[in-house]
């Protein structure tokens, strides 16, 4: 299927946690334009939320306003989302996996975000390029929905 600009996700947010809610609406819209299930939107939003919360909360050594770019596209049966920020160098996927079987009293508070990203996304990549952190998330389109886009406009 040909990729067109209309179907891509292209969002710039600033380093304010309130922006994550605004982004989620645009991700929902991106997913529904591709006629993918709402579960997929939930999973993409959760992964983006966890990564962006880290960047916004801990990524910047100053109090300045920064921009973070989020780009998404779907090529064949693969959803690819890219996050680019100019915060301090940080590879989120080097964080140690939490112990998910620990009893309540031994559970550390926090540390679960990146674990959730790995559960929501099939392939995660990180690179540092030109002073920017670039995270790439790849997720297969749910099999059941593969090819549905070709039936566009049938129900409208």
């Amino acid at each position: 299927m040909a990729e067109t600009g209309m179907e891509n996700l292209n969002v710039v947010i600033i380093n304010d946690l309130a922006e994550i809610g605004r982004l989620s609406i645009l991700v929902d819209d991106f997913v529904s334009r591709h006629r993918l299930p709402t579960r997929t939107a939930f999973e993409l939003n959760l992964a983006l939320d966890e990564l962006l919360t880290n960047v916004i909360s801990y990524g910047y050594p100053d109090e300045m306003q920064h921009e973070i770019q989020i780009r998404g596209s779907i090529v064949d049966d693969l959803i690819v989302i890219e996050i680019e920020d100019d915060g301090r160098e940080f590879n989120p996927f080097e964080i140690k996996e939490p112990d998910l079987k620990a009893p309540l009293v031994e559970r550390p508070i926090g540390g679960l975000g990146i674990h959730l990203v790995r559960q929501m996304i099939d392939v995660v990549e990180y690179r540092r390029l030109d002073g920017k952190n670039i995270v790439v998330l790849k997720k297969s389109v749910p099999t059941h929905f593969h090819g549905e886009c070709d039936d566009a406009d049938r129900s409208h």
């Binding site: 946690l17 939930f42 966890e50 926090g110 975000g113």
Partner: protein
Amino acid sequence: MMQIEVIEDESQHVVIVGLSGRMDSSNSRAFEEKMVNLIQAGKTRMVVDCAQLQYISSAGLRVFLMAAKQLTMAKGKLILASLNDDVRQVFNLTGFSSIFQICDSREEAIRNHGD
């Protein structure tokens, strides 16, 4: 956007906290403050009703964990009710389903406080 509603069921001596909307890092602090205030006010038999909660991230899970730890120390109990499939999945994937008592309805959660 998240809303928090607190109802005291005086006949059962249970406080019900109803959540609706999205709980993420931008608003989990409001939930945390509400829970801390309730626990400090001696409300240690609690139900959090998630029937209208559409979304939760680890920032929200963190508050549940903190509240459960504080309630355990205060000899109280936290029971969750009515998680939707997406929220339930987050609890399952993080092992939180095994550290919290989760009921299918608010009524069942209140009944379980009576045991």
